[in-house]
């Protein structure tokens, strides 16, 4: 990677702000603007949702019309829309996402509370799925048309097409409850048990134990995308001249693949991985529901039912924000990975 250093030196020598900085600033600035627009869009989008939050919240509890009116007043739902919007934007600029209707707590606090479990679950699953997917995709492409390729592709595509909640329920039945001689190896719900001996190690092991089933379910459903992209982009490289050159140099097939073909084929896959990372937060809704995993997906689902407008806006900003941030990162990383982009 010596050429990056040359690149940096030449760019520093140029006058004005270095192009690299300009590039980064432009990308980051664009991201911030997008994020703000998303927040504004969210405000109006969720105001279109039918229903009266106050009424949904109090369902199944005897309340009077006066109580409902008081609730609406407290949430500012009785104000004209432009005033609500003004308050929303001012609060947003202060980093205040408002107070949830259902939970009577600051949205930022709730989101922070739930983002951890989701990142843990989907992050772990994505890392595993990427590793498994890249490995299988590489193998499948290299032995294109062979039994390995056929097996990997068909199994991967089958799992990809299976509805997540159904696969999750099957996993829950088979490995959580146990069928026939197979005992239930894993807990069926939640992220941790209440009665774990004190200490960090038991707690970590307990969470890991709870993590297995939801995580594997998620991996099974998403790894095929990475596998297929890797397979396709590797196939595109397969006929390239530089591989023939490498083979002519007498390199073994294994090395030709590892040192020459895979790095080039990785480029489109990296973009996909980053885009997928952006969806990390959103992707877990069904799995979280099946395994009662206390994350953001569930929070969004609950907010939607009321509709808890501030909470919806908050989760929406987080979901959209993670996509935007990852997009910006993907563009930045890609610039470093692919010299062709850098020179243009």
């Amino acid at each position: 990677m010596t050429d990056t250093r040359d690149e940096l030196e030449t760019s520093v020598a140029a006058t004005g702000p270095p192009p690299l900085l300009r590039f980064v600033a432009a990308k980051v600035g664009g991201g911030v603007v997008s994020l703000f627009l998303v927040a504004v869009l969210g405000f109006f989008l969720f105001r279109v949702l039918p229903g009266d939050p106050a009424r949904t919240m109090t369902r199944s509890t005897p309340v009077s019309a006066e109580q409902l009116a008081a609730l609406r007043h407290r949430f500012g739902l009785d104000q004209p829309l432009y005033l609500q919007f003004r308050d929303f934007v001012l609060d947003l600029l202060h980093g205040d996402l408002g107070t949830s209707y259902i939970y009577n707590r600051p949205v930022a606090e709730l989101v922070l509370e739930r983002v951890g479990p989701t990142v843990l679950l989907v992050g772990t699953a994505t890392v595993l799925a990427v590793l498994v997917g890249l490995w299988m995709g590489t193998r499948a492409a290299w032995h294109q048309g062979g039994p390995v390729d056929r097996w990997f592709t068909s199994v991967g595509l089958t799992l990809w097409s299976v509805p997540t909640f159904w696969l999750g329920l099957l996993a829950l039945m088979a490995f959580g409850v146990g069928v026939g001689p197979l005992p239930g190896l894993f807990p069926v719900a939640g992220m941790s048990s209440a009665d774990v001996p004190a200490g960090v190690v038991p707690h970590v092991l307990d969470v890991a134990h709870h993590l297995v089933l939801p995580c594997l379910t998620l991996v099974a459903v998403i790894y095929a995308q990475f596998m297929m992209v890797m397979r396709t982009s590797l196939l595109e490289e397969m006929g390239a001249d530089y591989l023939t050159t490498a083979r002519a140099k007498g390199l073994r097939e294994d090395l030709v693949r590892r040192r020459h073909a895979v790095p080039n084929a990785l480029l489109p896959t990296v973009t996909l991985i980053f885009l997928h990372l952006g969806l990390v937060v959103a992707g877990a809704i069904t799995v979280e529901t099946v395994f009662s995993w206390p994350g953001l997906g569930l929070l969004t689902y609950e907010a939607l039912r009321v509709p808890d407008l501030p909470l919806l806006q908050g989760t929406f900003i987080v979901l959209a924000g993670s996509v935007i941030v990852m997009n910006v990162l993907a563009e930045l990383v890609y610039r470093f990975l692919d010299p062709r982009v850098r020179d243009s």
Partner: protein, 613 residues
């Protein structure tokens, strides 16, 4: 796992497969002890925890704010109320108040507060705490969020001494015997400036009840500890834990596995599936809900101005009664509820035996398409050439039926009703929409037919009020209408039952109000679904049902179910699920070890391969 014979090490999937098989083989025996035989949890020192699966989140642990059934159920366990409902038959029994009486003018109530009761932090519970709680709700709108309706008629609450509370009301209210407001400790809550922002999550929560809340992890669980000093005596279990499940199937599986001891809100299918499960006992209780179809009788707001889009033909009570006759309730209970329900009759569900009313034979409207058709012919709604009836104005009887889109119950009921009414020459268009839209369209009178339903409290006042003229929405919107009934006779009956302090007289008046509601046929009560629960009989026994006959454990108006539950000998004797825990740790350990081994083998091969280059 030596180097494969065909060179290209690491590319052999067989080696990987073999490793995985070995790992699995190693894990299974280790986990043998964790089979499905309900491993009791590792309670330290022989303590036993009763674990209840719930499918609803606690919206707030602040008793002034929490609306959800999950929250209000917990408040009954950790805060006192003046009175409570007995387990046998929902009769009002003393709780924090030992006795009470009303003044001759019926406008003032005196409650005597029990002596020697202490908050969980040791402070005595006095009449001042009670007065403080009510006054805070009357002065601070935020504190009236969840229970404000109880204090609406209050004009003043005072505590002349430590043992006496006097409440004055603007008009006579028979409901004063059952004020289900959680009483909070003044010395804690007087420091809370903004009730609306107070989450009340500092543990343990200072309260007084059979249990004390000690640990809360949002969306995971809430743990309560037995209150050894409870004035009725300590509960029989050491701890009570509510465990969150996001879907009921997972909760049922956890019960089968022994991860929890009680589940509630089962579907008929789940309930049937548990029939032969060993060590699990099922409880089929009468439910507190009624399920009705509202026929828009010409909706109007509280000022009497017509609102909404109701079909004019439904303003005719003869049409509404004909529709009622075309509904086969027996069939609905059998097909829609799998038999787990009671056929709808009056207004209040049969779980409240005293108030339960069924129409006498001459007022009853049994299922008969023939009779319904004859009634419509006589009322002057002839069939057109296409077989659809039309009213005097020539407008066809074509009704829009609004349903909850996310429940199968509504979908099935809709289908049946559509079929039956088509045989009357009435066309029904089903409109499944979101819960929010159902509420919105109901309040706006924007429907011809709509599904509705309420949970009924032991005191029927609240649901009876839903059918009064006063319940109709205000001109500016808001309000809680149900069937838009606005009938002078019904309102008179409603008002007199509220002012009637003689219990049997009041029961009589409530019955007459139900009769009037049935006669007007604006709301057709279809059925009362059962409450379906199940528990692990190998771990617990002695759950006290409310009511004793056909009652429930979890969805009570009181704390009897959990308070009286007893651990079995087996649960007491079982100490430590260490086997289960260690098995889990062994598995995790083996998997980690396997991963490390695999990684190092792969790395070594990689190195040797590079070496050979």
């Amino acid at each position: 796992m030596g180097v494969g014979p065909t060179g290209a090490p690491g590319s052999d999937p067989r080696a990987l497969l073999l490793t995985l098989t070995l790992l699995l083989a190693a894990a299974v025996p280790a986990a043998g002890q964790s089979a499905r035989s309900a491993p009791p949890e590792p309670d330290s020192g022989g303590e036993v925890t009763l674990r209840v699966g719930i499918q609803q989140e606690f919206d707030s642990l602040n008793p002034f704010l929490g609306f959800s059934l999950a929250s209000t159920g917990v408040f009954r366990l950790i805060y006192p109320t003046l009175t409570t409902y007995g387990a046998e038959d929902f009769s009002v029994v003393p709780e924090l108040a030992t006795d009470w009486k009303s003044s001759p003018d019926k406008l003032s109530w005196t409650f005597h507060i029990r002596e020697g009761v202490h908050w969980s932090d040791g402070e005595p519970v006095t009449a001042h705490d009670v007065a403080y709680t009510f006054n805070r709700m009357m002065d601070d709108p935020a504190a009236a969020t969840a229970n404000g309706n109880y204090v609406e008629g209050f004009t003043g609450v005072t505590a002349p001494d430590d043992r006496t509370v006097v409440i004055r009301t603007a008009s006579p209210q028979a409901t004063m015997r059952s004020i289900a407001v959680p009483i909070v400790p003044e010395h804690v809550w007087s420091n809370v400036d903004d009730v609306a922002e107070f989450a009340n999550q500092r543990m343990p929560i200072v309260g007084n009840g059979p249990f004390i809340a000690t640990e809360y992890r949002p969306q995971q669980f809430l743990t309560l500890r037995a209150n050894e000093d409870f004035w009725r005596g300590a509960p029989n279990v050491d701890r009570l834990r509510f465990v969150n499940f996001e879907n009921s199937d997972a909760a049922v599986q956890a019960l089968r596995k022994g991860e929890i001891d009680v589940v509630r809100d089962l579907t008929p299918t789940q309930f049937d599936a548990l029939r032969d499960a060993e060590d699990i006992r099922r409880v089929r209780g009468k439910g507190r809900r009624f399920y009705e179809i509202v026929l828009n009788p010409g909706a109007a707001n509280s000022a009497g101005e017509p609102i909404g889009t109701g079909h004019p033909a439904l303003r005719d009570p003869r049409v509404r009664r004909a529709v009622d006759r075309a509904i086969d309730r027996e069939l609905l209970v059998e097909r829609v509820l799998g038999g787990y329900g009671t056929v709808g009759a009056g207004y209040l569900p049969p779980i409240f035996e005293e108030y339960y009313w069924t129409p006498p034979p001459r007022a009853r409207r049994p299922f008969s398409i023939e009779t319904a058709n004859r009634a419509l012919d006589e009322a002057g709604y002839p069939r057109g050439p296409d077989g659809v009836r039309h009213g005097p104005s020539g407008r066809p009887l074509d009704f829009e039926f609004v349903l909850h889109g996310d429940t199968s119950t509504d979908a099935l009921v809709g289908k049946f009703v559509e079929e039956w009414l088509s045989r009357l020459g009435i066309r029904v268009r089903l409109r499944p929409v979101s819960d929010n839209q159902v509420n919105q369209r109901t309040t706006a009178g924007d429907f011809d037919m709509v599904v509705s339903g309420w949970s009924v409290n032991p005191d029927p006042d609240y649901v009876l009020r839903l059918q009064t003229c006063g319940a109709r929405p205000k001109p500016g919107g808001g309000g809680l209408p149900d069937s838009f009934l606005c009938d002078r006779r019904y309102d008179e009956l409603y008002a007199s039952q509220l002012a009637e302090f003689d219990h049997s007289e009041r029961v009589e008046l409530v019955e007459r109000a139900q009769r009037r509601f049935h006669r007007m046929a604006t709301g057709l009560i279809l059925f009362y679904p059962n409450a379906l629960e199940a528990y692990r009989s190998d771990r617990f026994e002695g759950f006290m049902l409310q009511p004793t006959e056909g009652g429930v454990i979890t969805a009570q108006q009181g704390y009897w179910g959990y308070y009286r539950a007893r651990p079995t000998e087996q649960a007491r004797a079982a100490s430590g699920g260490a086997g289960y825990r260690s098995a889990a740790f062994v598995i995790v350990g083996v998997v980690l070890l396997g991963a490390v081994v695999l990684a190092s083998v792969a790395a070594r091969r990689r190195r040797t391969a590079e070496h050979r280059e």
